[in-house]
Assembly symmetry: C2
Homo-oligomer: 164 residues x 2
Amino acid sequence: MSDKERDEVRQRRHKPVELDDIDRKILRELAKDASQSYAELSQSVHLSTAAVHDRVKRLKRDEVITGTVARLDGCKLGRTLLTFVLVDTSSYAATRELLAFNVRPDVEEIHSVAGDSSVMIKVRANDTESLEAFLMEVQRLEGVRSVRSYIALSTFLERGPIPD
Amino acid sequence: MSDKERDEVRQRRHKPVELDDIDRKILRELAKDASQSYAELSQSVHLSTAAVHDRVKRLKRDEVITGTVARLDGCKLGRTLLTFVLVDTSSYAATRELLAFNVRPDVEEIHSVAGDSSVMIKVRANDTESLEAFLMEVQRLEGVRSVRSYIALSTFLERGPIPD
DNA sequence: ACTGAAAGTTACTAAGG
DNA sequence: CCTTAGTAACTTTCAGT
């Protein structure tokens, strides 16, 4: 692998994209409400619609913007029980098994976390019964040492990444 | 307050909205990609564009769809260190103080969780130094008993609520 | 890199079935 | 819930600065 190729990979993996104040303002606006038109956006940043269009296109090409999605209300969908589940496993094999839970519609996040080969799972279950069923499925896996659950009582903030 | 009024409030707060299979399909599609046109959506659900339009309008009115947002790449923004911070406080007053962290751009989620008046904070810091600065700010608060940090090594799934 | 305007699509509404 | 149709609003492109 040449220096150039390695640098390109490194850049793709690690290096943040260079953004100016206007880029950040656009990103903040779109992270808050992506349904607004380029005309509205252009007023926020004091640029023409075409200029905003170019910048948004670049931000999408550079994958700073990875997509546009609808935010849904968990309660209105019947998912009333948000829980963070911390699973401690004795092997990486068990950790890998946990990743298969990504097919469940009530599982929203899966992260491996530092320390004792653990996995953090954010699950929004319909009710206590389905949470219990989920926890039992996790417990049942080979190599699962412990499962700790943190049930959310109130949510005060919930959003995605935004720039400084 | 009349029975009718109370029921309306109750419905607004607790009762999930009645959804059929087509509604759920539309919601899944929009949660995945809200930039697609009604023409594309109508092909997914085998309905006319006008019918899809009506349904989406209803889903927004009923606040099943709470908004449309751009998903941003944390790494591309320079936020490389995702951490779940579990704060144990000795009083509700201290818990309330933690809510003030919602103004920080690196804090993405704040939930109160069951047991020992704890708070779960999801923070996506720029680097280890800014994470340390954040943790020290939390530690410094009156009534904070303990702070446990779970640093994410890899993220395998990260999305919002979707219907069954 | 931005502007202004033109060209092409889509969103939205309404009427009739 | 369907189709058709029509307008307004929006996205996208491009020549010009």
